[in-house]
Symmetry: C3
């Protein structure tokens, strides 16, 4: 059989190592399309001159700005789909995601995964697969390292269940695991160009920020984004089959929602110029064309970066909703809203993303 | 407050200087997406070899073609939106827009604006703000210089009105203000590659050209274009809120209509290889997804370029319509059509753009 | 008249040579958008490092991967539309299409065509024009060479018919006409990165491969693709006029369907890393937004490449359907399905493409 049917739950075993196909060179073309599809305005990936001014540009001739962290994430993730999640029922979560050395236009990323956990579901029809995936550039430097777990269909209901193993995953990436770009120097940091005056010191733990703006999803946009990443999960592209499926519609790649939430978060978090880590993430509801995505963020923690007084980290929890402005901070842990409002809001929550960003600190 | 609420009318004062955030490196990726969204076929920005042959390519190693003038315009304009027009009710007009040194792939543009005029509306609910915006490249050379005026909401109806000042703006950019690219040499100009044999001498004042073709607008296309420029005006992206708004629909960025009109104008104006200036522009009606844009142009003037016998300038008035082919030149000043036809046509006029282009002159 | 009305059947004469306007520099931006619009995962055009490892990267500094063969095809084809097929009723077929030297980012392609055949239709209202088109890079090396024939409207029903001449076209491109990239060396070929272990030896003549996946067409996607190629045929873009036309809808550029079929064929034909030739192609039904494209392929022949034991060629016939999964191989010459099924399937067949690909051979 020449066609890849995708791996089913039975096809995975603990300790399995998978080399993913089709390395990908990320170019300024990919960057432009990413901007066109998300509208992201975070300054560093947009402006070579600004990246140069803070020591974050490519070494050597072109001195280009680094690739947006989430574009890099999607490119690495895209490599893994054909092997890991082609038969996935759901992408359940992410953890311990660390961004490594920055990627620059012209870098080629490839990915490998190890199976680190397996647990059959009690219904005998599917199971959860935990994989540790690592993305590397053409010099074999790690650009991304993360765990994700997906619910995968069994090929045959009667296949015996493997011994269950659920990996113990850290609730957050520790500050000692952050990979800071070498050469980063904020002495020429210009808040007027970054888009907002606030620094690490200005964000309070527990502070909530409504990002205000909304972005309506179109079929063409999410499909183009997902094709750009060469993520070929079937549910995103085929209306003819999805019309008979669970939702009657094409399901939007959860990563596109993450990108929109991050892009919307510029309004209030513009100084958070780089993502260091994704501590965890959950897609709470599916998104479809026609939905309008809103987002808000809570400052969960302020972390000191060992050895740096010019930089700090913020741990953020960003929630995205559909068709629900976030002025009431839906999904907040200690919501003051009454229960019915909370329940209604929950129905519209599509994303909870727990991540850590790098930000300038006041001397 | 971390979130940018945008400036309201009260937030502007005469002489105010605004440094806009987020410089932007323009790349061949942006160029490709611009071509994909507009279908523009003007030859110089498409072909490095052709740009080289007329001395209009980047100096140095890559010798790339210049960025399309309107792509550059949108990139500079996009910088200014978050500060100038986030709370705009309408973008009323442009004037005295001069294109400076050409921009090339890899150039980073940034923008600053000065407030040069203010006038509260008699309803006390809004006012008109006039700004002079200047776009510069990473060497601080001016790439674009223009005035625009927008109607901006007041935060508070009871705020006192500022002293009214309406700047005196030239009706057109004078030939002496044109910035000609250095090194431009048309001795190797090849009309067969440019797409049309006509030269400056062949266009008559008063001549009208129906550009024939039509282009239907899609939500995804105009949103992608506007996101590419990082123009974040809310009305373009959020169907959830616009459903309850003035039009019930997302409004299309007027600049996208300008780009489509220019792209359509290739059919008849292919030799107009560079825009020198925009003398003025008005959006006469809003455009929405589903509308089909048509365009026609009138040659308003033929200008001699001081010191050049190989090049001339044409002052053009291009009108765009929706769902109305331009065979009858709708909106022409001295229309021969009877009044009812004219009125009907006016309802479909979406753009009047008065601009000046560079074109080869017969020796 | 400044506007190009397009050539009508009467405007063509045997032996006519046409220099097409607007050369085009193909960039990594075009490559990114092509990936975003098709989702193609063929490895060589995606990864500079992989292209380098098999000797297929650009000579000199950047060592970039070559442009996808079909992107190159569309770029050359796009040059020819304004002169050849603006008034076409139908694009009837392609033959003898040979890919020449590879194109790399930064190369500028231009095109010329010769009229090699003419035949008026018996209805006196149109005729068939055969053109031989050649695309060249900026060094005048041939990158593409093909024949196509189109049915073109007559300007005037009463114009006399030209002497009919139908060129004799080869049914397939001979192996001796294949242009192999110089320097190609598969000793470091890595099947794990290419995405499938099978080699030339593993594909059997007569073998059928269902490519399984489907891709739903959106207006924005096909228009963006076609604008990217600067193919300005009117039927693809103007809903206002097409609403009153033959189909009531915008017709999708047949080349977009070819690209989707090729992209889908990765699932089963991943090792077919380069197209050498298109022997023939027919669009059997029009495609519209909302259709979901599926594809399957048959191995028609296995060809030995003279002088190479490391490489072979496969002649393939790929069929694409709309809204019809290809598990039953619709359109197969010796279909086992009963006649009514075949007829039903035929109604959904949109493409038959006969082409030859390069693939590694087992030593």
């Amino acid at each position: 059989m020449k066609t890849n049917p995708g791996n089913f739950f039975e096809d995975f075993h603990l300790g399995q190592e998978i080399v993913h196909a089709v390395p990908r060179t990320i170019t300024t073309g990919d960057v432009a399309l990413y901007t066109g599809l998300t509208g992201s305005r975070f300054a560093v990936p947009c402006a070579d001159s600004l990246a140069q001014s803070i020591g974050l540009a490519q070494a050597g001739g072109l001195a280009q700005a680094p690739i947006d962290d989430l574009l890099l994430f999607h490119m690495v993730f895209g490599r893994t789909v054909a092997d890991i999640s082609l038969n996935a029922i759901a992408n359940l979560g992410y953890a311990n995601c660390k961004f490594g050395v920055p990627a620059f236009p012209g870098d080629t990323v490839s990915a490998r995964s190890s199976v680190i956990g397996l647990k059959e579901n009690s219904n005998g029809e599917s199971g959860v697969v935990y994989v540790h995936s690592v993305g590397r550039n053409q010099r074999q430097e790690v650009v991304l390292d993360y765990v994700r777990w997906v619910m995968v269909r069994k090929r045959d209901r009667t296949s015996p269940a493997p011994e269950a193993k659920v990996p113990i995953l850290p609730g957050e990436v520790a500050a000692s695991d952050f990979v800071l770009p070498t050469g980063l120097d904020l002495t020429r940091y210009d808040a007027a160009l970054i888009g907002q005056p606030h620094l690490w010191d200005d964000y309070e733990i527990g502070e909530r920020i409504d990002h205000v703006d909304g972005m309506t999803l179109e079929e063409s946009d999410h499909m183009t984004a997902t094709r750009l990443y060469q993520n070929n999960a079937k549910v995103h592209f085929n209306q003819h089959s999805e019309a008979k499926g669970r939702f009657g519609r094409r399901l939007i790649y959860g990563g596109h929602i993450i990108s929109l939430a991050r892009a919307l978060s510029f309004n209030g978090l513009a100084p958070a110029f780089k993502i260091l880590a994704i501590n965890g993430g959950r897609h709470l509801n599916p998104s479809f064309a026609g939905d309008t995505i809103y987002a808000w963020s809570e400052v969960v923690d302020r972390l000191v970066i060992p050895g740096r007084t010019d930089l700090g980290a913020l741990r953020l929890s960003t929630r995205a909703t559909k068709d629900h402005p976030c002025v009431d901070f839906p999904g907040a842990k200690n919501a003051t809203a009454d229960q019915s409002t909370a329940a209604a809001a929950a129905a519209n929550l599509v994303l909870e993303l727990d991540y850590t960003v790098l930000i300038k600190r006041r001397f």
